[in-house]
């Protein structure tokens, strides 16, 4: 198991190196550079050249990349934002806190509501409740988040006045963005949980368990749920990676100070160190989550454990 984890970590390192190089190349190919951002729209060529020289942007791509890798490897330093001059690590930490809070709230909500609805639908498969949940899931999946967000603001902030529109100060501020972010996941999880539970319900081992005389509660808990949860965990891992990378649209609409807005602004500003730092962080999160999901699988499903680890 330890060897497996080590192998995975080594792979992750290579992956991060590749990701950072790709981001460097992409931003280099993209038109415009941070000198434009810094010197302003009407700057002369001389002003631009002076700014470029000062920032080292006139160096070849590989030199800049080598400097970046050197900084990270030797000093653990991600560099500083070209535009604001602040350390990238500080920027990421500031924004990641808000993103993490929002992601975890959305995840918790999705997990609780999605599983509950999915289970209810499975138990009452074919009934009105099932129909209602599945119809709701279709709706939830197809609502674009910017629209859902504006709808929620209209109803809960403006009409009812229960919740604030923007800000990040209190738990109340978290509710609307978390719900918006959770809606598609709730829909997905409800649908997934329902179909997995229905699949497993007709499996042989469940019939055997029933035949043994196990009560319905025990059958559900030990046999149905444990098997049906595996795909759910895989999906959750991906979902969490997705929302931890910064949910740009939701962050923009609710003015939530998360990672997504930081990255998009940095891309527009061609602020290479910030973009690279953020993409590395996101890649790292995906790697970590994938590993966690695989380990969790092994833990929950003895069959996986022996083959893979």
């Amino acid at each position: 198991m330890a060897g497996y984890v080590l192998r995975r970590l080594a792979g992750a390192l290579l992956m991060l190196l590749a990701v950072s190089l790709i981001v460097f190349i992409l931003l280099d190919v993209a038109p415009g550079d941070a000198a434009h951002t810094l010197a302003g729209d009407l700057a002369s060529q001389e002003q631009l050249a002076a700014v470029r020289h000062e920032l080292g942007l006139d160096q070849p791509l590989l030199v800049r990349y080598a400097r970046f890798v050197e900084g990270v490897v030797l000093r653990g330093d991600l560099g500083a934002s070209i535009v604001s001059g602040r350390p990238v690590a500080v920027l990421l930490v500031e924004r990641f806190g808000a993103t993490l809070k929002l992601a975890l709230a959305a995840l918790g909500l999705a997990l609780a509501v999605g599983l509950l609805l999915g289970t209810l639908a499975a138990v009452r498969a074919g009934g009105y409740l099932d129909l209602a949940v599945m119809a709701g899931a279709t709706l939830g999946e197809s609502l674009p988040s910017f629209w859902a967000a504006l709808l929620l603001i209209q109803v809960f902030a403006l009409q009812l006045g229960w919740l604030p529109v923007v800000g990040a100060g209190s738990p109340k501020h978290l509710v609307l963005p978390a719900v918006t972010l959770a809606l598609p996941a709730i829909a997905l999880l409800a649908r997934l949980a329902r179909s997995c539970l229905l699949d497993v319900r007709s499996a042989d081992f469940v019939r055997t368990a029933r035949a043994k005389g196990l009560g319905p509660l025990l059958v559900w808990r030990d046999h149905l749920f444990r098997n049906a949860i595996l795909p759910v965990i895989t999906i959750l891992g991906l979902y969490l990676g997705h929302v931890l990378g910064g949910a740009f649209i939701v962050e923009t609409i609710f003015a939530w100070p998360g990672l997504g807005r930081l990255v998009v602004q940095a891309i527009f500003d061609r602020d290479v160190p910030v973009v690279v730092g953020a993409v590395l962080l996101i890649a790292l999160i995906y790697q970590g989550l994938n590993l966690a999901v695989d380990l969790l699988h092994a833990l929950l499903d003895p069959r996986v454990g022996h083959e893979a680890l």
């Binding site: 700057a43 602040r86 529109v165 800000g167 003015a255 100070p257």
Partner: protein, 557 residues
Amino acid sequence: MRTMRVLTLLLLVAVAGCGPAAQTPPAAPTTAPAAATEAAPVAGMTDRAAPTTAPAPLPVIGGTVTRAITAEPTSLDPHAAPGSGQNVILPYLFDTLVFRAMDNTYQPYLATGWEIAPDGKSVTFTLREDVTFHDGTPLNAGAVAFTFKRFKEAKTSAGEGLASMTGVEALDDYTVRFTFSEPSAVFFSTLATPYAGIVSPAAVEAAGDAFGQQPVGSGPFKFASWQQGTEVVLERNPDYRWSPAPITNPGAPYLERVVFKVIPDASTQLAALQADEVDLIFVNAPNHIEKLKADPSVELIETRLNSLIYLGFNCARAPLDEVQVRQALAHAVNKEEILMAALGGTGQVAFAPMAPTLPGFDPSLRQYELGYDPARASALLSEAGFAPAADGTLARNGQPLNLTLLTFARAPNEDVATLLQSQLKAIGVNVTVQQYDTPTAAKAATEGQYDLLLWRYDRNDADVLNINLHSSRIGSSNRFGYSNPQVDELLDRAARELDEAARARYYVEAQKLIMADAPWQPLYVPVDVLAIKKRVQNYHLASMGRILLNEAQVLTQ
């Protein structure tokens, strides 16, 4: 639910700052506005265009005004790269030597007076002697010299106006002299921008690169906190005694706090205003303006910007290198239709290259406008040798007239570009619209990779024509490949002319030539509509879209 609502109310009340024990102002207790006697609590929507002159209740200290900002500044250092939206916040934190009035004249601010040498190559300022920075250090000639050396070295486009400045020195504690290699007409407008705010040398040295995160100036409000991605909070400067001319309050501001909330999305800004979470937003979308017109708690004011939206022609590229073709395309543009369809009738049609709020604009230039005249457009193109092909597209020597229209992604550019496309189609010109993010579009424009350019300028000085249309700028800010030696000569003279009236005349002459050459077809002057809660009283609108809160107050419900 009920308790939730009560809680929200309480929160609002707390935000509104009608908290306990409102103190009386230590600064100006005796100068309570005479207007207080004629107090009408909810006035202030009498004259939409003018600053509010509403009588206020007795000034009490307290209250918060919250303003939504679309973009979060990267830095609050006045000398940092402009354009990230810091110009909205800087004027509250920093004072400038001179104040620019609505009529574009310059009035004393930190400088009590100034003297321009007869040769125009030096300007000497006398400073107020009672000004201190937020850190307690005195604002003196040394600080001013320090500021302008730093500003010039920062090499940002905001410091463009200091190009011919050769030095700045403190003659004594409160006298400072600027010297120039040649007279600089753009110097005073540069002095009045927020980017020329005087910084505390002690604070700059102490903070180093972090100064932009903890700015120290001498303004009516001082920096309190900055929560990245969320808000910037300023608090009142109790020692403030040096308000510029339009302010009658000689002392410190009454407001306890000014908060700038970062809200990137326009719909959310609107919702936040309606939910009383912010007091002040700028609205552009016609449907948002309609919505707010129906809201009795909101006052709407059209603010004039020193900006212009124009259609630029690439004079270096065939067939637009022919003046006839440019004039023809200009005649094909129906500006009224653009204004109505894309902007819901806000804004005003432009005819001259100079924005109407800038010196050098002259209504008489209207007679030189290449107005909407499709017949004339077709005639000019046929004179130039273009004839309609079978499908109606104009062609010359077998080459169809296909043009690209480049613009940047920002409302309502897409609508305007589509309209231009259909208007040009009507005379047989095929237009392909290319809309990119701003840095991409700016690079393509600078490199001249376009035929038609839908663009905008925002600049507080008439030198915007020098920057955009002088031939020495071809390859950088003259993106049009436009060159006319007579225009260059007039622009050069204007740049050296310190007499405002004479300078304006040079610009008028230059514009006559420019309008005939048609490197641009001016389209419209954008309008930003300020939506402000009526509970905010006694604010002042100043030039460059500034909103002064030096004597503003919030009414408590």
